[in-house]
């Protein structure tokens, strides 16, 4: 799942502007302007609070294979990043317990990616100084793009575990980036099929709210294409700033517009706040969304989220591998895995499996192996593969429907999961973006 990068203002004091005490005057003579400047600087400093994180580095033996992990650990995306870290740690534990990669242990170097600039710097450092064989992670599409560029320059493989934007698979694709996270198109097509089934598209008026940044814009474009292709129309589509916490003004507008369906292209905490307040105002219109993470619903609580949403994986998937993963995760972390944990766990497993299969840690050889269509277990019914022309993992998706509050048994059990989409007799590619929709030309 994807979300905003906050803008971090680096507060640098001008030489004479600081609240340095004037030596000849007692402080009573400080000007009100100086004081106000202090206040304004205070506000700017406050916005950087979320920017500082603490790297956790676990170093082991020197002959180990080093793996870099970058994901936002603080700020807007911190909640998802926390699950990503739990996922990658569990995967490394399991790989090492099973003999490592070609007999060598994996050593994980995990850091907070913070924002695109920091992500880029840290990716470069992981490759140059720490000599990692691959980088795994990221949730923000903007930071994901920054890491992908470093990865390509250094011919080091990068597994994107949480950025959804189609653009990363299309216009910005590159040979060293692989996408375990589903693309926006796959999310839209999965939820869209449920909407078509329920007659919520043809001739219906949608009111959509979209997170106002790269991910949201990308999602809106894809959602609009789907809606228009299937005969729906917008009552309105509105952009919502990523730092919005109060939705009452939007809810009043929605109420007056009387749409047939309210569509969320929101991200992260926006979804939690929007859904809590939608339920608070008791609006009667059905709700659906095209971007979703389970942590968002867990954070809203029972009875506070409604409607139909797409999901890439959930612990309710009843395959044996999925249940083994869930049990191991609960044992280690004391709570069930979120879909972001699945992404980072799975990518790490795929990388180790590929390296063991070709008996090499060389990124270019791993890329060639994956491009030949190597098959992987996804903790789902069907195996998947990374599509050779855009490096998107081809896989089943799910949709979920929220239960009424009185049917909820635990705080983790808020929704029911659909059968896999696409169905067993369809190609996995049927929900993925086509070449016409999202063409990728790998730079040489």
């Amino acid at each position: 799942m994807d979300s905003a990068q906050r803008v971090h203002y680096n507060y640098q004091r001008e030489p004479n502007a600081g609240p340095k005490q004037a030596s000849t005057f007692p402080e009573e003579f400080m000007t009100i302007n100086r004081i106000r400047r202090g206040l304004l600087q205070g506000g700017a400093a406050a916005t950087t609070l979320g920017a500082l994180g603490f790297p956790s580095i676990s170093r082991g033996q020197t002959d180990a294979i080093r793996l870099g992990h970058l994901t936002p650990r603080t700020g807007f995306l911190g909640p998802l990043g926390e699950y990503a870290v739990m996922g990658v740690n569990l995967a490394v534990d399991e790989i090492n317990a099973a003999g490592g990669v070609m007999g060598r242990k994996i050593e994980l170097i995990a850091e907070d990616s913070v924002n695109p600039q920091t992500a880029s710097t840290k990716a470069q450092r992981l490759i140059e100084r720490d000599k990692v064989v691959a980088i795994i992670g990221e949730i923000s599409s903007a930071s994901g793009l920054a890491i992908a560029q470093v990865a390509q320059r250094n011919k080091t493989i990068f597994f994107n575990t949480g950025c959804n934007s189609d653009e990363l698979r299309g216009k910005s694709c590159n040979r060293y980036m692989f996408h375990t996270e589903a693309a926006n198109s796959m999310y839209v097509n999965a939820a869209g099929r449920a909407l078509l089934r329920d007659g919520m598209v043809k001739g219906k008026k949608w009111y959509s709210l979209t997170a106002d940044y790269a991910f949201g814009h990308d999602l809106l474009r894809v959602a609009k294409r789907f809606m228009q292709a299937n005969g729906g129309e917008f009552a309105a589509d509105e952009l919502v700033p990523t730092d919005a916490t109060d939705f009452s003004a939007y809810l009043l507008k929605i109420r007056n517009a009387k749409p047939d369906l309210v569509v969320s292209n929101l991200a992260g905490a926006q979804i939690t706040n929007f859904m809590k307040q939608y339920v608070e105002y008791g609006l009667p219109f059905p709700v659906a969304g095209f971007g979703f993470d389970t942590a968002v619903a867990w954070g809203a609580g029972k009875g506070n989220v409604l409607g139909i949403w797409p999901l890439v994986w959930d612990s309710q998937v009843k395959t044996p591998a999925s249940q083994r993963f869930t049990e191991a995760f609960v044992k280690k972390n004391g709570k069930p895995p979120e879909n972001q944990a699945w992404g980072d766990y799975l990518s790490t497993k795929h990388l180790a499996q590929a390296m063991n299969e070709i008996k090499s840690t060389d990124s270019t050889k791993v890329v060639e192996h994956l491009e030949k269509g190597a098959k992987f277990d996804l903790l789902k019914t069907r195996e998947g593969y990374y599509r050779n022309w855009d490096h998107q993992l081809m896989m089943e998706m799910y949709t979920l429907t929220f239960k009424p509050a009185d049917q909820v048994k635990t705080q983790w059990d808020l929704f029911t999961l659909s059968a896999p989409v696409p169905g067993a007799n369809e190609s996995l590619e049927s929900i993925a973006p086509t070449r016409e929709e999202n063409n990728c030309t790998m730079p040489t």
């Binding site: 009100i32 106000r36 304004l40 506000g43 916005t47 603080t74 919502v240 009043l252 867990w298």
Partner: protein, 290 residues
Amino acid sequence: MLVQILEQVLNGLLVGAYYLLIALGLSLIFALGGLVNLAHGAFYALGAYIAVSLADRLGFGGVLLASPALVALIGLVIERFLFRRFYRSDPALGLLLTFGLAMVAEQTLRLVFGAAPLPFSIPSALKGQVLVGDFIYSRYRLLMLAIAAAAVAALWWLLQRTSFGRVVRAGVQNPEMTAALGISLEPYMAAVVAISVGLAALAGVLLAPITGVHPAMGADILTASFVVVVIGGLGSFWGVVCAALIVGVVRGLTVYFYPAAAEASMYLLMVLVLLVRPRGLFGERILRFE
């Protein structure tokens, strides 16, 4: 359309109450102690987390009282051992101290409760909507407005109608003269900090059922509250109240006409106010800051 705009204006007044409880405390601590409290948002977050932790045992009504009281106690301790050393020092040191405190608080919440948001719902007795003609109000928000209004009224009474308030106001205007009259401001400052952070915690409890409870929630609301204080004018009680309501209304109207700029509207408003009236709308002339 006119009806819808009126609806947004009324709703905006309600939204303004969000920032009010936090901005008033910020303004008070700054006016009396000269301390820009960047940790104010942390007390707001702490209030929400305490509410979530104790709600099962005490109920919503219980945490509405217990959480601000507990946070006020914590505020007293922090005032005694940390804030007190910085009232008379270079404002940059106070900024550093409270900035550091805010970081420590956020990371502590993250370590103890995890980074994921915690669920917290509106108590079932307060769920539902009130329809007035064509307008819709959330019952919970009406209660929230009533509590916020009561807290603001109580604070106003305390500052304007009691001997405690007279000393505080004198201290804001002229600490030297107050000291020369034989009044020590130290206990008053401690009380002001306790009240201010208590109000922030109250805001945390009230907003927890509407917005997400997560470690960074304090940093999120702090910036907006600063803007309200700057627009309203330093040291002005009613300035802060008016600014909060104006910010709410302007935001509501922006959502109506141009939603993408909703959060930017308050910053534009601040720029406008500072250009026209650098002291803020109702900023008093405080001698020692001139």
